[in-house]
Amino acid sequence: MTKRIYILLMCVGLWSSQSSAELTIEITEGVEGTLPVAVVPFAWLGAGKPPQDVAKIVSNDLRRSGRFDPMAMNDMLAKPTEPAQIKFQNWRIMEIPALVIGKVWLSGNPDFPYGVEFRVYDVFKEERIAALRYKVRKGQLRKVAHQISDIVYEKLTGEKGAFNTRIAYIKKLPQQAARPYGLFIADSDTANEQGILVSRFPILSPTWSPDNKKLAYVKASNLGAGIYIYDVSKQTQQRVTPKRSSYSAPSWSPDGKKLAMMLAKDGSTDIYVMDLQTREFKKITKHWAIDTEPSWSPKGDSLIFTSERGGSAQLYRYTFKTQKIKRITFKGRQNLRAAHSPDGSMITFVHLSSDRRYHIAVMELDSGLMRIVSSNSRGESEHESPSFSPNGSMIIYAANYPQKGAKTKRTGLVAVTVDGRMQQHFTDTGAGEVREPAWSSFLN
């Protein structure tokens, strides 16, 4: 009984520490050639302070993408919130080509207590290029702000924005916590963090189902590692692989009906595909060396996986039709844990170079051209778990970097543009390590 109370108290402790563990964004490397844009503070037609600073969220989103240079609010000569208040000359002289204005109000409707509208202008043509009005439910203003960012991004770059998306990640509290391992979900800017489950056993490798409704993850317990599926709306979890054996490294098929995974059996670790409906397994690779970390191609025709069959860990591609396996990485001491870009043209992976550090690299699959996109600006020795944003423009990964005066390193998330030119660190203020980020696909 006393034990049980102890566990309960530890859980409460865990949860209260999480609420204070807000992630903050710090941009460490700026870039030339970004598009200036002014997101004017939105008018708030209500009493007191507005519940969310929508313009600030939009502005931060655009900056994070590495494509924009949002103007500082203090530098704005005027702060229009209505179309009639805009003097385009004010923005032309500041060489600001794009302008976003808007307002937030209380609607009096209990189901949709807020109203939001925004407008986007081409300053030089003096033309409106987007305008929308929203009815907003309680607690949904941040989400609407990310949707506005998506529209602004798409109108100004011609590509789909990926701000109104989510990331899943693992948080590890200090080992003395009763349940140190937690699975979390947050918005793409790491706000709105939400705990999914905690465990005393290691949890790893979270990955979204293609429809974003489920998360597959691994729990390494004393019954052997197993793959679990968490249903986000039902809030239920289920072990999908048999007990007393070791299954790990799940990757969803693009139709969401199968999982590719690693199964360790009699000392041999091979890739298998499991049909989630029939629970039948099909063996894909057969080699005494380690085969693991499959990533299913978005077209569904192949898997890229890590194998040490050549003597060191390298990436290989298995094609379902021909059942042939071909090595695809040749540079560096090791190349591991590939993840496909959403259009399937690229992969991102972990690259061990001759400096004995683990970097994040991207490779174009057609040409085989590879480049490192992470930088060691904070003295990091290890970068891992890269995941593409659903529009393919960014990669989020985990980095461990030294802390002043401490023997242990901190692990936190970093987002970098695919060209590697702009990176930002998400600094967790809590005690936990944040690791293994997985970016969702586009939300409906």
């Binding site: 034990k3 049980r4 566990i7 080992q175 349940r179 391992y181 465990s199 005393r200 056993f201 290691p202 790893l204 490798s205 691994v218 390494a220 317990s221 004393n222 019954l223 052997g224 590692a225 007393r244 070791s246 790990s248 490294a249 690693m262 360790a264 009699d266 000392g267 670790t269 380690i290 085969d291 693991t292 970390e293 890590t306 860990a313 090791q334 591991l336 844990r337 972990v350 061990l352 683990y358 020795s381 290890e382 891992e384 778990s385 461990n400 030294p402 023997k407 242990t408 390193k409 293994e436």
Partner: protein, 179 residues
Amino acid sequence: MKQVVKLVFLMLPILLLIGCGAKEVKDEEVSNESVVVTAPDEQGASASEGIGMEGDLESAEAAESDKDLLAERKIYFDFDRSNVREEFSAVIEAHAQYLVDNPSASLVIEGHCDERGTREYNIALGEQRAHAVSKMLTLLGASRSQIRTVSYGEERPEVEGHEESSWKWNRRAVLVYAE
């Protein structure tokens, strides 16, 4: 008499471990975190207690060193390797002999890695390390049904730290006997 005192002294850590074998609260799955080494077999103990003749001295010492080896439950590995280093052969032989002598005994072998490399690769590597030990035990006569392997990859380091002096303790297989 001196021998008996020495023997009790040697068994003390084992007896202490048995005393600590309290069950922990479950987290959905069976708990095995309370590490328990099964008591050494009664016969072996009473045999070495039967002292009095000079000639017994040597065999008593042999039994003691076996118990020393049995108390050794961690096997360490080289970076990115899963082959058992020769220095650990004697430890594994002692455990194999124990399993042969005690067919009802069973154990879980945990495979662990240092933090370098990806987490999933290390789950696979930990599996290979655990299997390498398991294979040696069965080659030496232990039954496969007595042994289970699990891998924790790099998730449960023995020593926190980011250099070889910590890493070398984290690349390990741990033998955990069931109650």
